[in-house]
């Protein structure tokens, strides 16, 4: 009975190392060690033949029985079940052989060979089971390792994911902050742009203040002069009426009428100038209305000329006009188109007023007559307004930049650099085009074309 107890000993030891929680008994480990001690003791007894053989075998059977029963019934010992499956046939046969040998020796000796064969097959079975379970365990182990690996990978992935989420959150916060900063910058820029546009409007108006005053003073003088004349004529009319000189009366009445017409026309002229000045400085953009482009161009040409003259006494230039009398009225925001004209005309005067153009002309041996010409022309479906100067011309490298905001060739403080870019936007806004042709040393021509429907 040494082998059975040895099996019990190792089985107990195996359980001690492999039982699952929760523990089936309060002191499972100790109980199993006691079991091992008992198995060892019984094994020694069985091997040495010291004790009564029957008692030793019976105790061994009880120990083995209790052990197998425990393994089969307690969930915590479930890991022992494959071993039980392996050893159960062998243990059963050996115990049966043992008790047969002790209790029925005569009968047993007759079937001993049969038992030995059965023991042999049970042993083979046990070995096969052991081998199978070992393979299964190995497979399980591999699976477990794979699972563990996966678990580790999962943990790692989770970690990376968490890290990524933190980074994403940080980046999102950064981007949101950047976006907010950019939005603020944009708002600031828009406000600045509006201020600049207004400043540009006011600057171009300011340049013209003296010219405007002059342009208003001239018609007002005529209004006063002709009124005064009419006053004198009325006195003369009275005298003529007293004398009954009908020819004289008729003549005087005709003069009165003519003068009256002059008063009205110069009054209107002054009114027009004040109106366009007010429109020009108005902050909100106006409405599109039918506009006489010839009149508008003429008005702004005079304003520009007198404005620049008043500002700089040494400034002098000739201006010419060539207006198409068949020009249709255009639906435009007149103060906006007025600004474009004013800007282009101011620039043209600025170009011809400089030394460069004069020197260029004189070097060619000719006398330089600084001239700005404004022409209008009716074309199929559109109207072209040209502002032509015989200034120094615009170099090619500047041509591309000339419509960009803040681009200016004027000395710092003299130009906002917005005039042409605003003009460009205004013309575009009217569905038109603003382009330029320029020859170095000959002059520049800005062409505004506006659709006439």
């Amino acid at each position: 009975m040494a082998l059975e107890n040895l099996i019990a000993f190792f089985l107990l030891n195996y359980l001690r190392k492999n039982f699952d929680k929760p523990e089936p008994f309060p002191n499972t480990n100790r109980l199993l060690i006691i079991g091992m001690a008992v198995a060892a003791f019984l094994g020694l007894l069985g091997a040495s033949d010291v004790g009564p053989r029957f008692l030793t075998s019976l105790l061994s059977l009880l120990l083995m029985g209790a052990l197998i029963y425990g393994i089969l019934t307690l969930p915590s010992f479930s890991k022992g079940r494959p071993i039980v499956a392996a050893i159960l046939p062998y243990v059963s046969i050996t115990f049966l052989a043992e008790f047969g040998q002790i209790l029925f020796p005569s009968t047993y000796s007759g079937v001993e060979a049969l038992f030995e064969t059965a023991e042999f097959f049970a042993f083979i079975w046990a070995v096969a089971q052991w081998w199978i379970s070992r393979r299964q365990r190995k497979a399980l182990e591999v699976q477990r390792l794979i699972a563990e690996q996966k678990e580790r990978e999962l943990v790692l992935t989770e970690k990376i994911k968490a890290q990524l989420e933190i980074e994403v959150a940080e980046r999102t916060a950064d981007l949101t902050k950047q976006k907010e900063e950019l939005e603020k910058a944009l708002t600031d820029l828009k406000a600045t742009q509006e201020q600049l546009i207004l400043a540009e409007k006011m600057a171009s108006l300011g340049e013209l203040t003296a010219g405007i005053a002059h342009e208003i003073q001239n018609p007002l003088n005529f209004v006063n002069n002709f009124s005064e004349l009419n006053h004198e004529l009325l006195d003369e009319l009275e005298q003529a009426a007293e004398k009954g000189d009908t020819d004289e009366i008729k003549e005087i009445i005709q003069d009165l009428k003519n003068n009256e017409e002059k008063i009205v026309s110069h009054g209107k002229r002054a009114e027009g100038i004040v109106k366009s000045m007010l429109q020009h400085s108005r902050k909100e953009s106006g409405k599109k209305e039918p506009t006489d482009i010839n009149k508008l161009a003429d008005e702004y040409l005079r304003l520009s000329y007198h404005g620049l003259r008043a500002k700089d006494k040494s400034f002098n230039a000739t201006y010419k006009t060539d207006f198409d009398p068949n020009l249709p009225q255009l639906e435009v925001v007149s103060q906006d188109i007025g600004r474009v004209l004013l800007n282009l005309i101011n620039n043209a005067f600025y170009a011809v007023g400089g030394k460069e153009a004069k020197e260029a002309a004189q070097s060619r041996g000719g006398e330089y007559v600084p001239t700005v010409t404004v022409t209008t022309k009716k074309l199929p479906k559109k109207v072209e307004i040209r502002v032509i100067d015989n200034g120094p011309g615009i170099p090619d490298e500047i041509k591309d930049k000339i419509f960009q905001p803040f681009f200016t060739t004027k000395p710092t403080g003299q130009g906002t650099g917005l005039g042409l870019s605003l003009s460009y936007d205004i013309v575009k806004g009217h569905g038109g085009e603003l382009r330029l042709q320029s020859d170095l040393g000959k002059g520049t021509e800005f062409v505004i074309s506006l659709p006439s429907i």
Binding site: H214, Q217, N218, L220, N221, F222, N224, N225, F226, L229, L233, D255, N258, N259, K262, H266, Y305, H306, R309, A310, K313, N316, A317, T318, Y319, V369
Partner: protein
């Protein structure tokens, strides 16, 4: 007695012709008008010597200014009197004009009484 008035405002002609109607009718005054400096020089060059004895010129005109005209007239025809009539009565313009040989400097709006005095003095 021929007097030349130079101004880029064309209605000046109608104004002057009425203002000096009596002088034109009875006083032997003849007015001619030019609407640019160049036109004025052309008129002065029509006859040799020119018939015009007195030039009244505006200063602020496109092309040749009144001051430029003054200089040219004074070099070509030193005997012709030239007076300025300007809306800009500032000292800079005034000094320039007087220095270049202008006889008088009238400001706009024109005081026709003083202008008449100047012209009648010439007629007598």
């Amino acid at each position: 007695m021929k007097i030349l008035i130079v101004d880029d405002e064309r209605d000046v002609e109608m104004l002057f012709r009425q203002k000096f109607r009596k002088e034109i009718k009875t006083g032997g005054l003849e007015l001619v008008f030019a609407f640019s400096g160049q036109q004025a020089l052309d008129i002065l060059s029509e006859t040799d010597p020119p018939q015009v004895v007195y030039v009244f010129s505006d200063i602020n005109m496109p092309g040749m200014t009144g001051l430029e005209l003054l200089e040219k007239v004074k070099t070509k025809f030193p005997n012709i009197n030239v007076s300025m009539i300007s809306a800009y009565g500032d000292t800079e313009n005034y000094n320039k004009a007087i220095k270049s040989g202008a006889k008088e400097f009238f400001t706009k709006p024109i005081d026709f009484d003083s202008l008449r005095k100047e012209i009648t003095a010439l007629l007598n």
